[in-house]
Symmetry: C2
Amino acid sequence: MFRKLLTLDEARRTIQLHFKPKPSNVEKIQLLEACSRVLAEDVTAKLNIPPFNRSTVDGYAVKAEDTFGAYENRPGWLKVCGVVNAGESSKMAVTHGMAVEIATGAPVPEGTDAVVMKEYTRREDDDLYLCSAVAKDENVMKAGSDIRKNEVALLKGQLLGSREVGVLAALGLSKIKVYPLPRVAVLSTGAEITEPGRKLPSGRIYDINAYSLAAAVRESGGQPVYLGVFPDDETELRKTLERALESADMVITSGGVSVGPKDVMPSVVNSLGKPGVIVSGIAVKPGKPTTVASVDGKPVFSLPGHPASALLMFHLLVRPMVLLMAGRRVECGLEVRAFAAVRMFPAKGRRTFVMVQLEWDSGRLVAVPVQTGSSGAITTLARADGFVEIAENTQFVEAGEEVDVLVFEGFEEKRL
Amino acid sequence: MFRKLLTLDEARRTIQLHFKPKPSNVEKIQLLEACSRVLAEDVTAKLNIPPFNRSTVDGYAVKAEDTFGAYENRPGWLKVCGVVNAGESSKMAVTHGMAVEIATGAPVPEGTDAVVMKEYTRREDDDLYLCSAVAKDENVMKAGSDIRKNEVALLKGQLLGSREVGVLAALGLSKIKVYPLPRVAVLSTGAEITEPGRKLPSGRIYDINAYSLAAAVRESGGQPVYLGVFPDDETELRKTLERALESADMVITSGGVSVGPKDVMPSVVNSLGKPGVIVSGIAVKPGKPTTVASVDGKPVFSLPGHPASALLMFHLLVRPMVLLMAGRRVECGLEVRAFAAVRMFPAKGRRTFVMVQLEWDSGRLVAVPVQTGSSGAITTLARADGFVEIAENTQFVEAGEEVDVLVFEGFEEKRL
């Protein structure tokens, strides 16, 4: 069951070989609820936009050729034969020598092909004097000029923001098909772990990971299913995971993956289905004991118990999969260039991630490592702005050297 | 009632003079729902974290001084007097010459002050041989070393992401106080406008703005209240706005702000309360007819009917206010540097915003204007990646000149 420690790149390739994450289904929702969802269909215009030749100004709809030669000193003359307001439709048959008063947004009547702006006219009862000529189509937005009927307006896979929601509204859609949010079950294990909100027995600490990972799932476009805290009991864990796998698309556990006698997670997940454990430890620091299983096609990520390690491994391995299952793209993440505040060493033979805080120092942005390791679990979470990745074969990163800091979600809001 | 056209900077100052947007209240929610909400209280640790001296390894808890002098060729000897597992508490009184078997995460028993890693021991029944000495506090995470009781762990105003949610969980909180999402009522006006999802009568077009603006409110951390489409009827609009102002913190309308006879919005909002209209038109392009009113302390933004103009003015004026009401910071927005694809002209005497699409051209990022103005309402929405701001006094931006493009939300996801 246990293979050799993989490098991070090997672990990623193994995961890619076993899973082809994509949305599992399609659901229909109200357009008003569509913001930040992902479109599950190509959307084809069922109508021309605008649906009719539309006046873009207040004025008079005319036959353009009737206005030719009109200028200030020798105004043209037309007879006003009616009016068309915005929202009305005009069945008038306009013939030569006639004009129809028209409002911005109103349909240009049959027989006319241009609109003279009100400013260039003078009206006396039904007599209209024009001090300017108009060209054909002037001040007219032609039917279908914005979107032509049967044109594809938005493509499947489009993330919907305010602008795309506007486009869908323009097409008259009040319901649309989107990908469901992938359901990701999250649980923590450990005999010493107690759920927040309960009384803390002596010798116990409150759970962090099920909460922080559930929030991270949400930030990645997934729907977290919070299962809570479970002791290191094989039978109960197996039952819980089986139930979770029935309804969720993915399961994330934390704790119980090290080498202690209570670290039962790898053997439990390996027994749940085929092929079982596919990644059993990764040559990274932190995050080494991370275990990944494929249970009849569904991924189970067993992350370490240390909160900063768990969240880092989530970012490196789990987040891309949640994004893909949500139908979203895997973004590269926001990188900020900074200067290393101190010399940083990689762990021997392991890809090393140093959690850092970004600070301004004499006009330079400096990456200061946040205390990690066994202590400072929460301090690390609270203070780190992102992490510096140090390759396996690097000797060290020198103080003052430029480094790329991959910053966490929400960093933009930090007042630096 | 109508003052002279303000510059954009004057309009912003006028708005800042009239409103001091901030959260109006506090609500208590489940920590599991806290992601992307804003903390409404300083959170003080009610307990030490960790709550007890905690072993960071599997091994034996000892008095450090009992191990001094032990090394590989001359192992120390101690008597094992018990075991403490993770989640247990130990009431053992450990005296000199004794050791307690201890698991990672378990509390270090009274009387011991260090933990020897299992790897450095050999055990025969209750006899423990140590091939290495340990210093005081070695492999022990001291009580309160991560967060000390009564320390402030997170500050009021903190935007909550996965890491902050983790910190709150660590403190044992399952419910927290956050700022409510500001309620922003959104409606469209215009006799020619029909709500999406209904049959489109002849001469009509579907509403875009109430949908796109509602989504933009959500993207800005607000709770949109969709009111729908209303004809340009003063009495009905007044009633609707009065009702909206009763329950919402802010109102956004679109359409009806130009100078046509049906553009009743400015006079309606001016009659709703004191001081009424404070900004009546702004020297910008697009967005000139934008009207802002203060109705007994609540802002009413009346945006133009053109969808791209409405959304642009939302970004420039409304979004900062929604963010502040949500207790969030006004971010500068993401700017991308690109080369102007063509010469861009500002409108005379007006701050001009050119909607652009970003494209790669021979290895350079190029800002290509998207057709705007009267036509291309939806094309603009769908294709623009952001906008270039051209100052009032600029003659023009030369083709090939470098420009800053302020990109729209969701741009990062675009595959360039």
